[in-house]
Each structure stands twice: as structure tokens, then as C-alpha cells.
Amino acid sequence: MNLTLRVWRQKNRNDAGRFVTYEAPGISPDMSFLEMLDIVNERLIEKGEEPIAFDHDCREGICGMCGLVINGVAHGQRRATTTCQLHMRSFSDGNTIVIEPWRATAFPIIKDLVVDRSAFDRIVSAGGFISAPTGSAVDGNAILVPKDDAEMAMDAAACIGCAACVAACPNASAMLFVSAKVSHLGHLPQGQPERYDRVQKMIAQMDAEGFGACTNIGECEAACPKEIKLLNIGRMNRDFIRASTAAKG
């Protein structure tokens, strides 16, 4: 296939950035999207032009490192797919593909398509855990977890922290990410002691990082490569209200 790419290039955080057009001839449909970019980069380097910087690591949809807005859609059109798992057979000969970084106030651009997502780590540090110091645990089977609860916890825990939800949301809200962690831990008996404290702390940090509010648009769920459900947000809101009313006494 022969493709045309319009790629966001930005030298560093302070540069204004702009779209640059590249021709990408001879792309095989069996390539992954990132392999296509590898080829484009190899050709750029051979011409003495600096390659396009983009984040990636595992290339199998689990580390959450990759993330591009492709033709206006976070991780591209294909449902439940990370950028690294997208294959060129989803495109056709002659297509023009527009490639941009995640855009959100809380995620400053570092270079080209690479952004700073450290806000997510700070939200987890604020409360996204169960305090269980090493050595303090009881026997694994001493805590029985009904199968359905374990499955629901796992559904939420599948989040890879890629931040497509934020990139897709017109408000750049991080509610889906935060609620996935709140739900994962809240569905388990081990997560109960810190349940209300956790939700308050995580939300406070989320607000401090400059993420927007949720207005129930649902773009996050549509973009999520791991199909994390919106109902987690409802669950988090309930816990948050309960926590706030309890705190007021």
C-alpha cells in the first residue's frame, strides 16, 4: 500500500509544533502500525532527517506505553485495540493518516508524539493501593473471594494506564482510569478497610493534576483498549458520595 502521513512534530515542550507530511509507499498490510512507523523512521534517518519520536515498549497491548491519536481517534478506529496492536490491514491503499499525540493539559508534550503521563503515577501514590506490607499476609485461601467478585475486580484491573480515556474525553477527564482502580480494589474483601479513604485521596489528586470533570459523554469507554466500563465511574461516584457524607458525620 502507498500511504500519506500527516504527523505532529514538536521539538520539545516549548516548541509550538506543526504537522509534517510524509509519503509512506510500499507498506505491507501485515505490518503493525508501529512497524509502519519504524519503516518511515528508517527511511527518514537514511535521508538524514530526524526520526519521529513515539512511545512504545511491549508491542503486544499490555504495557500501556504506546498511544497515538490516529485520524482523530485515540489508538485508532479499531475497537479494543492499542496502537501497537493495530495492523495496516485496517487501512487502504491511498489513505491519508493523521497522527497526533495525546492532548491534555495534564499531559505536557515532551517531543513529537511523546507525552508526560506521570500524573497517573501520582494519583496511584495518593491512594491507589491496599496497604499490605511484605510479610504481613495471611494464607491465600484464608480470604475467600466469590468468583463473580474476582471476575469483576479483574475486569477493572485490566486497565493498562495508557491514558487513551483522557485523550478521548472532550474534558480530558481521568475518571475512567481512577474509577477502574477504585473498582478493582473495592470489589475485593482485602480492599474494604481503605475503601472510602482511597476514593477521596485519589480524586483529590486527580483534581490537583488538572484533569477535567466527567460529563457522561462516554468517549473514554469507546476508546479504551481494554474495554473498561463506564459503570466503574458510577460506582466510584457512589463511594465518593458515601465517603464525603461519612466524613461530614
Binding site: D30, E35, H56, G61, R89, S125, G128, L144, P146
Partner: protein, 637 residues
Amino acid sequence: MELKSKCPTGPIEQQWQKHKAEMKLVNPANKRKYHIIIVGSGLAGGSAAATLGELGYNVSCFCYQDSARRAHSIAAQGGINASKNYQNDGDSTYRLFYDTVKGGDFRARESNVYRLAEVSTNIIDQCVAQGVPFAREYGGTLSNRSFGGAQVSRTFYARGQTGQQLLLGAYQALQRQVGLGQVKMYPRSEMIDLVVVDGRARGIITRDMVTGKIESHVGDAVILATGGYGNVFYLSTNAKGCNATAIWRAYRKGAGFANPCYTQIHPTCIPVSGDHQSKLTLMSESLRNDGRIWVPKKKGDTRKPDQIPEDERDYYLERKYPSYGNLAPRDISSRAAKQACDDGRGVGPGGLGVYLDFADSIKRLGKKVIEERYGNLFEMYERITDEDPYKVPMRIYPAIHYTMGGLWVDYNLMSTIPGLHVLGEANFSDHGANRLGASALMQGLADGYFVIPYTIADYLAQLKGPKIDTSHAEFKKAEAEANERIKRLLSIKGKRTVDSFHKQLGKVMWDKCGMARTDAGLREALALIPQIREEFWKNVTVLGSGDELNQSLEKAGRVADFLELGELLCRDALERDESCGGHFREEHQTEDGEALRNDEKFCHAAVWEFQGDGKPPKRNVEPLEFEFVHLQQRSYK
């Protein structure tokens, strides 16, 4: 080089307890006075950082990704072993120990392996307490599945995302310590050198991958938990960024490198689709619980799989290894697949593939059960190949997956450089010449949660001498060298890309030092690799500058190190003139093509010592003694 294993003596079941009782402690109030540097935030580094932080040490933790949560442990799929015997099927610490020693083809240290089996049960408890959503039975108890090389069901799992869930548990514990100020996290930071002062590891040099700044970090002890070096083969199941730089720099500073030729080839990966291929994707071994492996009996059979009748199929693992069948260990299954393909019976493009077929299981259990067990893996397969494995059998082929070799460590996980500890896949400790499935996650977490917290205290408590800081001459020297190397890479301005060299090296490694190795082939590789390296330093091109995010420069540094490590790997493979586990020398095989060990000459770990550039490294040996498991020819028939 002195190789004192420091293994305790006496009955094996009492060794670790005894050792713990004899080790020195650091008093709680003193812990905060010690600064520990940890490179790596995977299962090994993440669990160590969290635990040492909880204990009150001052910890700095580094990773090259943008978050600790993205270490490559995240990609582990199938599960983690523990000898809980929850299934009442006859498991025990001894059996897990025995299976691991045998699985490793009698090339691991008994004391280490026993300890690993012993703490395996604590790991599960710890992870459950953190909220890891392991699979459960209807009654609420933990579920298990089977993995290769074992006849008991001892593998705990969280769908096909076990590594992710275990890592998130460790990551959350780590971020909690970050929040409390006990651990300082340095993401997007790459360690590019080790600093040794007066014979002790005292710090590291890093490059801030965003600003390009070269920085010194000083500590009382250094822990490397930087993962495996499988990417020396270019194509592997590792993440693109996985590298050997940290351990290679340590080797150059005096740390012994043990058994570099012990590499694991995983039998079930998605076959290569073309020259553009940038990495290989694993299909978890757990699939072999329900999938049956076969090839057509006839050579060059091009019929579609559903057109090939049952009696014209060769379920070769079931045929050759009736008692383990499709769950034969990895090295054996990989070689059997290669033999079938070499024999002209491979399937798919180029004949480099075998079928992994779920039709029988779907018939027996229903699609829903299979989906519940492996849904995400089937989806992953479908995305890559555009074929639906519920309908058509998967096509799989072996690929480089794991490296058993690594920096030599003693029973305390300390390398030959005092103060330098090595955990997880980066060390050589527990798996001998072949690792059993679901044992790497176990080892990483054993090292980080339950071993290093004790053994590092023993080291720190005996540490004497003045505190130093980064103004010390050794730090300045290492910084200058790091800057010099970067300047050199940027100034070559040759004609070839970094990736083209990496691919070239990878091809030599795979062809000459992959699934089957020969004396002649290894000698060829040993002639070729220095040539590639020489051309690299003359003709590579790295654009951009050193003081910004520069992914070509990052890659160039890593590939430069792989170009040295590749040579050592081949040299080790040549010197180890026997077959064992994943190291298969064609000259040494039994009549039916199994690995033939030579215990008289090679019942030892080979530990390489750097002698300076351009000089051949020195091969030292640590003899292995088998007191509790008898040396025998491995059989899975």
C-alpha cells in the same frame, strides 16, 4: 575471581532458616541512614523497592519507561508457580524444588532452588493481600492450572494477564512508598554505568532520557533488577526497550557473567510474517493445557488443516512423550517443533510453523470455557494474524523468550563486586539451563519480597568506611566516560541505521547460536560479530543531539553493548561442549535427539571475567554439587 557461593550447609529444608538466623540485622532506627539504589521496577526491582522502603531504608529506583508499571514483567501471561498443594495432588516444597532442578537439566544450585520453592507460598499470600485478582473457584478459593515440566497443578493465574496483575500489585506497593517519601522514583532514566569505589559498588551513572543530562547517584548498595538480554537476538518476545546495558556495564566493571549461553526458546510464539517484523509475540504456555500440537504426517502437505484427517496428523509431543504430552518442557518442545519443520512437515508460509489446535477442547468443554481461560490470548492472535483460532488452529513457532544466564550471584544474591546485588532475570541463579514455565515470576518476587530484604541487611550491617558523595573522583571519571561515549556515537555520522546493525547481529545469533548450535557455526559467529561491531563504530548514524529525548541514541548505546555481549554468548556456547537444557550442541545428542549432558566435564557454572577491551575474557567455574537430587538423564517420556 573468587566464587564463594556462601550456601548454608546441613539438611536442605533447614538451610534458609538457619541462614536467616545467622545473618546480621540493621536496627530499625539505622535503616534510614542507608541509601539503596535499585535499577529496575519489574517484579524483582519493584517488589524489592517497595519492601525495602517499607522497612525504612532510603531507596532510589530507576526505570527506562515513563512509569514503573510498564516494566516488561507486565507482559507475562500464563501464571506463577507455588507449592501450596491446594489441589491436594501431591505437591510439596520438595517436589517444586525437584521439578525445578530437573527442569533446569541439573545446572542450578540446589540451595538456591530449595529456598525459591520454600518462599513460593509466601508470595501467593502476599499478592492476595495486595488485591491481586487471581482466578477463583466458585467456593471462593484460589484456582490453579498446569504448566510444562510438572505433573501437579500449581500455577496461580489472573486470566492471561498474570504478570500484569502481579506487577500492578508490586507497583502499587511501590507507589505507596513513593507517596510516603521512602522511595524516590526516577522514570525515563537509563543506567549507563556502574561506579565502583575501593572495590565496592557505590553508585550508578544515569542518562535522563528527557533532558539528556548525565547524572551520578551514590548509595551504600546497588541492586540491579534489569531483566533479561533476549534482545541480543533482535527478534524476541521481550519488549523493544529490554536491554543488557546495566548488567553489561557491571560485567565490564568486574562482575562475573554466568552461563550467557543459557537462553530459552519458547515453543509457542506467533511465526514471523516478514522482514518488517519488529518483535515476536508469545502465546502462553498455558494454552498447552487445552491445545494439541500437531503437523501433517506427510511432507509438504499444503491442504488446509481441516482437510487433513485425524490419521494423517502427527501429534508429535503426545507420541514422543506420552506421560507429559503437550506439556513437555520448553526446550524439548521447541526442538521437537524445529525437527518437524526441518523434516519438511512445517505449516504456513515458509513451512516455519506447527499447529496448536483447540478443536477437541472446544468440543469437550464448549467455546465459553475456552474463552474464559484464554480469551485475551485468542484475541491477540487474531489481531496479529487475522485468523480466528476458535475456528482454525493457531500456527506457532519457537522464539527467543528468556535468558537463564546473567550476572553471577552468591546465595545472598550478591555479585562478585561487593555491594552489587542482582535480582530477577538479570541474575543466573535458579533455573539452570532451562526455566520451567511460571517460575520466572516466582523467582522475581522471591528475590524482591523475601530474599534481598534479609541479605542486604547482612551486607549493610558489616559495611565500614567513610560515606562518600558524587564529587568522588570515580564518579567524575565515570561521568566523563559516559559523556565521551555519547559524543562518539553522535559524531560517527555514518550511513547505516542502528536498527540495521541490530538486525544483522540478531540474524547471526539466531542462525548460529539459536535452537541448535555447532562448533563450526559458533566459530563463524565469533568471526562475524567483531566485524559487525567494527563497522558499527565506523558507519552507524545517530541523528539529533545528546541533550534532548533521542531514541536513536538510546538504541545505539544498547546495541553497542549487545554487540559485545553477543560475542561472549557465542564464546560460552562454544566452550560448553555438551548439550544441556536450552543449550543444544548438535554434536551431543542421544539417539532420539535429546540433549546429552557431560557431567564429568561440565557440571559447573561458567563465570566469565572481563579482562579489558580486545582481550579474551577469562572463564572461571563454580562446581555444582548435587546432594539431594541425583544427577540423571532427564526423561519426560
